[in-house]
Amino acid sequence: MDETASATAASILSEPGAPVVVFDRVQLAFDDKVVLKDVSFTLIKGHTKIILGASGAGKSITLKIILGLLRADGGVVWVNGARVDQLSERELMPVRADLGMIFQEGALFDSLTVRENVGYKLYEETDMPIEDVDRRVEEVLGFIGLSEHIDKMPSELSGGQRRRVAIARAMAFKPRILLYDEATTGLDPITATTVDDEIIKLRDLEGVSSIVVTHQLRDAFYIATHMAVRDSGGAVRILPATPEKADEAEFIMLKDGLICFEGNAEELRSSTDPYLRQFLT
């Protein structure tokens, strides 16, 4: 991309309602198994896209394509104005600088402490002074309420704490897009709600655009129908979302490599589609 095009893309992306991720007729197959047949959607800046679907429906693969970890067989993928389906691994690095991903089970580095995990990118891939990185790591761990675990190893943490550290690692370098891959799967409802609250806080207080992959309907609806507000005393509260805010969370249901539903939480609840009804019950 030349400088003029980059400047134009940056100008468009700075506007409210700009498309930060565009998936256009994406296809992917592994040998004879077709995973994505023809999938298109757009993530608007500051909004949340919740991808639902049965196991093996291609939800996690969608995130890996956005991140450039997997290459689609066909179609076009735009992330922040860059066509990631055409970029080499080296060219993808600047795109990934604005993308954070929370992997299934966290994917924390076993041999590093919580501090080193959370600050990994800043310590290893930037020239930021160590003191500034330490400060940022402490700030992020404070945000997710895990400051006291800063010097522990990942093996000393519970499942929920590991997911929250993974969220802290993904947000430490302040990306504007976060991708959550089954962030609450396998967690008890109370811990899952804690993780959901972090996702809501990042979206509403930090302005992060999110794609949430899950098959936990309870968490999906909770994220879509709640919002975070900071009161005058600085305390953060999670409240039921206003109708306008709830409209910013859109659901996608993947089935047989295609999108079989797209709409907000209310539309999903009231759908009469037999597959969706079966999934919802």
Binding site: M101, A107, K121, E125
Partner: protein, 257 residues
Amino acid sequence: MLAFIVNWLKKAALEVQEYMRLIGATMRGVVTPPIYRHDIVEQFDQIGIGSLTVVLLTGFFTGAALASQTGITLDQFGARPVVGRLVSASIVTELGPVLTALMLTGRIGSGIAAELGSMVVTDQVSALRALGTDPIRKLVVPRVLAGLVMAPILTIVSDFVGIVGGWIVSRFQLQVASGQYWSSVTDVLFIQDVQQGLIKPFVFGFMIVTIACHVGLRTKGGTQGVGRATTIAVVAGSVSIIAMDFFITQVLVTLLY
């Protein structure tokens, strides 16, 4: 049957292609930034210092057993005093490099394959990429550099303790005078032998680490896959070392002698 053979050949060709790509990417990683110095130092410690005990024990007992065995054979010709020649020639050119490399395959080849394999199946390698780190530069380059440098050093150590082991057996079991043993050790060693004994571990160190990294990074199938990768790394590494030893020996004998 034909389809099976074609399929097998395709898989083999793919493995070779991916192995060569890994080597190419590693070479680029060695000469271009970013270089992860901390990881390089850590790998030098793990591969070099960490393997010292096993290499010392292997070298010592190999030299001792060799002296003991050759002493009996040499007695038949009344040539017991030249036992040092056989020990040093065998250890420096052949046994030292090969046995050290086999020990390293068992210790570090399996360790690298298991570590990288676990990182792959738990998405840690994908996480590295997502965080803007090239896994080849972060994980493979430090291990390859450590293998390249430490294998020859460990082989020298192994050769030395092997010859010392041979001396102890020669002196106290075979009753060969120390001066006679040490002079026969040096008498038979030519510069070509030493060159041969240093070139081999350099190649072996590179092979052990690159094969283990290749196998580890291509792990599939969860914890079972990690176990499979570890076995493949040790078997493929060991067989490659013994086969490569034959070819290197042929080339070096032609070129050096």
